[in-house]
């Protein structure tokens, strides 16, 4: 239901907004399980660079990806504001952590505030941006978190997340 929200007129959804470098992104709140402060991440060898590794989430081992590396927004050092957004990929069984620079706020964004992703021409991948919202002059890119990771990358993360 949440995914198809865009087609229903004047419907609003809650989005968790966060910062990656200078840009602001939004994430469907229904996908967010919790937000935890930055904790030590154990690197897993032979995984793509944007996979930061695995962390201990109350006894579960879950994979953590760093969208700053994935989106090439400039590799920022972790600060006190850096945190991990724990999102559900498919059902409750597969969860992963997403490292973001700063969590901003939860916004109600109505469908008419969302515009289709502009075409930046070939070479710029935009399929993981579900749309761009304009809220009080701020531009928020709404992420389709499942699509953020391409098939192959997702399978790496899912493999890390399964059995966790």
């Amino acid at each position: 239901m949440a995914q198809q929200g865009g087609t229903v007129v004047a419907q609003t959804h809650k989005y968790l907004t966060f910062k990656l470098g200078p840009e602001t992104y939004g994430l469907d709140i229904l996908r967010v399980q919790e937000i935890i402060g930055m904790i030590p991440v154990t690197r897993v060898p032979k995984t793509p660079a944007f996979v930061r590794g695995v962390v201990n989430l109350r006894g579960r081992v879950i994979p953590v990806v760093d969208l700053r590396i994935k989106f090439e927004t400039g590799e920022a050092d972790d600060t006190e504001l850096t945190c991990i957004v724990v999102v559900q990929l498919a059902g409750q069984s597969t969860v992963m952590g997403v490292v973001v620079d700063e969590v901003s706020e939860v916004l109600d964004i109505s469908v008419d505030q969302i515009e289709d992703t502009p075409d930046f021409g070939a070479g710029v991948q935009t399929e993981f941006v579900r749309g761009i919202a304009n809220v009080d002059g701020k531009v928020i890119m709404l992420l389709d978190i499942v699509r953020v990771l391409s098939g192959e990358e997702l399978s790496v993360v899912e493999r890390l997340a399964s059995e966790a």
Binding site: I39, P40, T42, R43, V44, P45, K46, T47, G53, V54, V55, N56, R58, G59, R60, V61, S155, V156, E158, R159, L160, A161, S162, E163, A164
Partner: protein, 682 residues
């Protein structure tokens, strides 16, 4: 009840009979005594026919004792006499007589609540338990199932699982008839089913399974593909076995009805009788628990979450205490409270770990009967000596070790122990000894099956392996490697296919099952003296013993089970080979070195082995030296999965929560070596 003590139950008689050592005069006298007591009770409270049958058993037990030694025939005859006794008792509806005569035979509901899990003892639940014992022994079809209901229920559950698995594989095989792994899977399923059915004397199932196995012989040996009509035959065979298994299950119902109809029993007794049958048909897996102490079944996922949470609590507690201690002005009160918390946490953790543990005794008890029957069938004289049945293991491991143990015992009796005359000719006692024992050793549970038979013929094994093309024709085999071959798929030195064992499956099933449990199996043999199979298992599947090593800034855990030793190598013993790798000179050979830092791309790792530490590990049949910076210590850790594919790809067995709450990665040494070889030394 006239007698002071409650009469023995049929089940107690059966157990005593199975556990009686035919050379032990005291035990035989006990056996005689218990049969006499049963006869006395039957004389007074039941039918004289039952008393006669029991008296006959008692007389046979006395006969064996007086003869000084129990021959196979005598023990076998006693077993048959006991089966007659059971049938007689059933035919006379002794169940109801017992229920009436037993002290305080309360209403069946009471039993349902309390008696169900109670091990049969002299309580009110006993009579109904003994009905359950004779329940499956349908007098109409003369089947000789005298084991308790739990075995049948267990069998039905397992058979269902095996057939489901076979079905699944067959469906794929129909499309891809060349999948050798699936052919082997199906074969193993049939083979295991055959073994279990044979054990329970379910001859019709055994035959069907055997026939189904034979269909697979051709594709297994040579052709490699399963013909489509054979596939149909196998589907039919699976269906047939399902019907047969269902038949076994329903047989558990009718007999109690049968025994009611000829001789109407009291209403209470009839209810008592009917109940176990209903119970087990509704949920076959229950039967397994029925003979144990009272239990509560808990969803496994919930239990795991509890263990996870407790694990986290232990870490949080130790970190809190640590921080408090670092505080210089720690109040005395806080220190006391923390101390108390620490104690409670520890106790809770121990308790949590023990939740999943159960003793091996139930498994071992079944083996007594198995060995007796196998020995009888193969015309050999075998005595089983059991030790350490109180050793506890994770519930799942106890369940899963059952089949491998059956295979090992089967193997010991069929291939190990010689026929009596051959033994005497070799200067041994006519009765072969098979030891089945379990004990703890260094945080692991060791189960050994030792026979004093002819031992393994290493030369024959090697010849057979060459014939089967299992080894490179140009290499010479060491004895150790040759012995390992008997655990390879498709290998058997038995010349003929017998009912008891032998088609070459079996030992590889054992090996796979043990490895699935993260255990190891070893074979030692002395020609003419016997063979010892040692199975080493971790206490639980969830916990791994590991050595924590530092590699650069990272920590990895090497499973202790695969470590041989660790050395700080002298620079002169490390040689670079073609500038691509290095080896460590060790005695008369070389151990290839693997730099964990280089393999994992770890920042800040030490490239020079002589300044780090080399952990020599066993990877399958090979040795390899893992180079790390230093050893941080030993730790027991709970394994957390990382996912199937990733594990193999990166040479990791899983993750583990370390004492500081961080995640450490557990190495899979075998996978690491395989992957390094495949990757051409990345």
């Amino acid at each position: 009840m006239a007698r002071r003590s409650a009469p023995p139950t049929l089940e107690q008689l059966a157990e005593t009979l199975i556990l009686t050592d035919p050379h032990d005069a005291d035990a035989l006298s006990d056996l005689e005594d218990i049969f006499s007591r049963y006869a006395d009770w039957a004389e007074g409270s039941a039918a004289p026919e039952i008393a006669d049958a029991a008296a006959e058993c008692a007389a046979m037990a006395r006969g064996i004792r007086e003869a000084g030694t129990g021959t196979n025939e005598a023990i076998g005859a006693l077993g048959h006499a006991f089966e007659r006794l059971q049938r007689t008792a059933l035919a006379f509806g002794v169940s109801s007589a017992e229920a009436d005569g037993s002290p305080g035979s309360d209403d069946p509901r009471g039993r349902d609540a309390t008696g169900r899990g109670t091990k049969p003892a002299a309580t009110s639940s006993v009579p109904s338990e003994s009905v359950a014992t004779s329940g499956p022994d349908d007098p109409g079809c003369e089947s000789s199932i005298v084991e308790d209901r739990s075995l049948i229920a267990d069998f039905v559950t397992r058979a269902g699982e095996l057939l489901d698995g076979a079905d699944e594989s067959l469906v794929v095989l129909e499309r891809e008839p060349r999948r050798r792994d699936l052919i082997d899977d199906v074969f193993r399923a049939f083979h295991t089913l055959k073994g279990m059915a044979g054990f329970l004397a379910l001859d019709h199932i055994q035959e069907t399974a055997h026939a189904a196995e034979s269909v697979l012989d051709a594709p297994r040996h040579g052709e490699g593909a399963l013909a489509s009509q054979d596939c149909g035959t196998l589907f039919d065979a699976v269906d047939e076995m399902r019907r047969q298994v269902a038949g076994v299950m329903s047989q558990g119902g009718p007999p109690s009805a049968n025994s009611e109809s000829p001789e109407p029993a009291s209403a209470a007794a009839a209810t008592v009788e009917a109940r176990p049958a209903i119970d087990s048909s509704a949920d076959p897996s229950r039967g397994h628990v029925d003979v144990m102490r009272p239990t509560i079944r808990v969803d496994e996922g919930r239990l795991d979450r509890l263990l996870d949470a407790i694990g986290e609590m232990v870490i949080a507690e130790s970190m809190a205490s640590e921080s408090a201690r670092a505080d210089a002005v720690l109040s005395e009160r806080l220190a006391q409270q923390l101390g108390r918390l620490d104690k409670i946490t520890r106790e809770l953790q121990e308790l949590a770990t023990s939740l999943r543990m159960m003793p091996l005794s139930a498994t071992f008890r079944r083996m007594g009967r198995l060995v007796r029957d196998l020995a009888y069938k193969s015309g050999k004289q075998v005595e089983l000596l059991v030790a350490g049945e109180d050793t506890e293991l994770d519930k799942e491991m106890v369940d899963r070790i059952n089949d491998p143990l059956i295979h090992l015992l089967r193997n010991a009796i069929d291939h190990g122990i010689e026929p009596p005359d051959a033994r005497v000719a070799a200067g041994k006692h006519a009765v072969g000894l098979v030891h089945l024992r379990a004990f703890h050793e260094g945080g692991a549970v060791v189960i050994q099956v030792i026979d004093d038979g002819r031992g393994l013929d290493v030369a024959a094994i090697e010849a057979k392996a060459r014939e089967l093309d299992l080894i490179d024709p140009n290499t010479a085999l060491e004895e150790r490697d040759a012995l390992a071959l008997i655990l390879a798929p498709g290998f058997s030195t038995a010349r003929e296919v017998t009912d008891v064992s032998g088609r070459g499956v079996g030992m590889d099933v054992v090996k796979r099952a043990v490895e699935d449990l993260r255990g190891q199996i070893e074979v030692e043999t002395t020609p003419g003296k016997g063979t010892c199979f040692t199975v080493r298992l971790p206490l639980t599947l969830a916990i791994i013993d590991g050595m924590v090593v530092r590699v650069g800034e990272e920590r990895y855990i090497i499973p202790t089970a695969s470590i041989q030793r660790s050395v700080r190598p002298d620079p002169s013993t490390v040689t670079s080979v073609l500038n691509r790798g290095s080896v460590l000179a060790d005695g008369d050979g070389f151990i290839p070195l693997m730099h964990l830092g280089a393999i994992f791309g770890t920042p800040g790792s030490e490239p020079d082995p002589s300044r780090g530490i080399v952990v020599v590990c066993e990877a399958g049949t090979r040795r390899v030296g893992l180079v790390a910076c230093e050893i941080l210590g030993q730790q027991q850790t709970v394994i957390k999965g990382l996912g199937e594919d990733l594990r193999g790809a990166a040479g990791l067995a899983g993750g583990a929560i370390m004492s500081d709450g961080r995640v450490g990665l557990i190495l899979d040494v075998v996978g690491l070596v395989a992957q390094a070889n495949a990757g051409g030394g990345e």
